[in-house]
């Protein structure tokens, strides 16, 4: 009787090569970066010291001013997101392969990809010489920077619509406008709205740092306070950033849940962005 042997395991080349590439990249980075690792030993103590300096004696008198600055950050994020949506909606219909031809869709998608790659802060740097150190710079940087992401999310929604309502509209002899109003819009509105809110949440974080380079909002106050070692103000500012962000996240998140509840919409996957 011949001995049975287990079949050989198949070699997963994709997996092996990716793993190897990652290992090589990590080793290359470890060797290449001249990091003074010994500084890490002092880090906890340093962080604790700064923490006590910042949060040790918070002064409530700083609150109104900084809360106002946070409101400016939130405003920048909201207006910026709306501007982005204003441009992304028409563009995304041109990027949906089921509505327009492939060549047009491809061109618009590349525009989205390019816009997506550039961080808002870089855009803000470019806009400061034009608009000065004003909140409007932050608004436009966020507005331009979010078109790509929103557009991508939008056209994916548009491409996933069901044909049936469109056929029904055609069957009763609807014209183009009616067809769009009753066949397309109801299918895409909930998800699009919730994506706009999601992007608003992301943009709160972006607008909070706009100030670090002078483009309005609370980042400005925090950066200045840290630079001039005005620890209490920096601590209060940081606290307000954290609380404000979590608060807006909670409200907007609840609204998003309410919007997509009851439809067959899939929950928003951050990883798809």
């Amino acid at each position: 009787m011949s001995e049975l042997s287990l079949p050989k395991k198949a070699i997963d080349w994709f997996r092996n090569i990716t793993t190897l590439a990652i290992v090589v990249a990590v080793i290359w980075s470890l060797i290449g970066l001249e990091i003074r690792w010994e500084r890490l030993i002092d880090l906890p103590a340093d962080l604790f010291l700064i923490g006590t300096l910042m949060f040790g004696n918070l002064d409530i008198a700083d609150f109104p001013n900084l809360a106002g600055a946070m409101w400016e950050s939130i405003s920048i994020a909201w207006v910026g997101t709306l501007i982005a949506a204003l441009f992304a909606i028409p563009l995304s219909f041109l990027a949906a392969e089921n509505l327009v031809g492939r060549p047009i869709a491809w061109v618009i998608r590349q525009v989205f990809n390019i816009l997506r790659a550039v961080p808002e802060v870089i855009l803000a740097i470019a806009l400061i010489p034009i608009f000065g150190l004003t909140p409007l710079t932050g608004v436009l940087a966020i507005g331009i920077g979010s078109i790509g992401t929103l557009g991508k999310l939008f056209y994916e929604v548009i491409e996933s619509i069901k044909k049936n309502p469109l056929e029904a509209a055609d069957a009763v002899g609807a014209n183009k406008l009616v067809r769009f109003r009753w066949g397309v819009l109801p299918q895409v509105m909930p998800e699009m709205t919730s994506f706009v809110l999601y992007r608003f949440e992301v943009n709160i974080r972006a607008s909070a740092v706009m100030g670090l380079i002078g483009a309005g909002g609370i980042g400005n106050d925090v950066a200045l306070a840290l630079r001039f070692k005005d620890w209490e103000v920096a601590g209060m500012g940081l606290l307000i950033v954290i609380l404000g962000t979590i608060l807006v996240d909670a409200i907007s998140g609840a609204a998003r849940k309410r919007i997509i509840k009851g439809t067959q919409a899939k929950p928003i996957e951050l990883a798809e962005v």
Binding site: W28, V121, F131
Partner: protein
């Protein structure tokens, strides 16, 4: 016998919730526009004016990235992103595990871990960088720490959401057959989350790569310091040359990463 008149059902009106949300959104928009002093005419006149930034954009100096200092800063940026993501992604595995019910049965401890994650996630990357620059001084280390915390927070959030939704059956089976913690994780948990986890880490890498370009603006190393240098001198051709070249690379890396992510999920 006369047929009773059939009445059409009443047309449903617009729900109050929608009216409320629309009014709320409208008021919010008006108030925020006033706060940021939004003005369309200002935007149009400013964009219409000839300016140095736009001149630089149309005449970028692509050669700048090959100069010795810019190239080494550029490589530093890539290395920072790789290392920050690997460390942050690795740590997030533990953080995500501790944020779940089966990984951390003690309720208040779990609440602490989750709150910590939320707080870390609410601080933007550049603010992390500024905080660490304040703590450990200008250099690469604050940049690495910023990317570490930032990607850890994002990946933790996504992974713990996935962990919450996994099938508990294999875990019970592993426990029933008497496996210890390590072998339970190895056979019942990791196989369930590995594809999505890997894709989250790659997503974190994409975020870190983009973030690493701006770290230098606050003195945390990488290509951003070169961008800031040329910006402060007003050499917009050099700025745009660096930015465009960097984002060409980001774009290529992202395509690659998206391809891998598609295969994984």
């Amino acid at each position: 016998m006369t047929a009773s008149k059939v009445e059409l059902p009443k047309k449903p009106g617009i729900p109050g919730a929608i009216i409320f949300s629309l009014v709320f959104a409208f008021v919010l928009t008006v108030v925020t526009m006033i706060t940021v002093e939004f003005s369309l005419t200002e935007i149009l006149t400013n964009f219409g004016r000839r300016n140095l930034v736009a001149d630089g954009l149309f005449n970028p100096d692509f050669g700048q990235i090959l100069s010795e200092r810019s190239l080494s800063a550029f490589i530093e940026t890539l290395q920072l992103a790789v290392l920050g993501t690997v460390l942050g992604g690795g740590m997030s595995m533990f953080m995500a595990y501790w944020a779940t019910e089966f990984g951390n049965p003690i309720r208040w401890l779990r609440a602490i871990v989750r709150t910590f994650n939320n707080v870390v996630r609410s601080i933007p990357d550049l603010l992390w960088a500024l905080l660490f620059v304040t703590a450990v001084g200008i250099g690469i280390l604050p940049g690495l720490l910023a990317l570490f915390f930032f990607s850890m927070a994002v990946v933790t959030k996504l992974t713990s959401d996935t962990l919450d939704g996994i099938d508990m059956g294999p875990i019970e089976a592993a426990k029933a057959s008497g496996s210890g913690l390590i072998s339970m994780l190895r056979t019942a948990v990791i196989p369930q989350i590995l594809p999505s986890y890997t894709s989250f880490v790659l997503y974190g890498f994409e975020l870190n790569l983009r973030a690493s370009a701006v770290l230098g603006l606050v003195g945390a190393g990488g290509i951003g310091s070169r961008i800031e240098f040329f910006r402060s001198r007003g050499d917009w051709s050099e700025v745009w040359g660096l930015v465009l070249m960097f984002f060409l690379v980001v774009f290529l890396v992202e395509r690659f990463s998206v391809t891998i992510r598609r295969r994984l999920v």
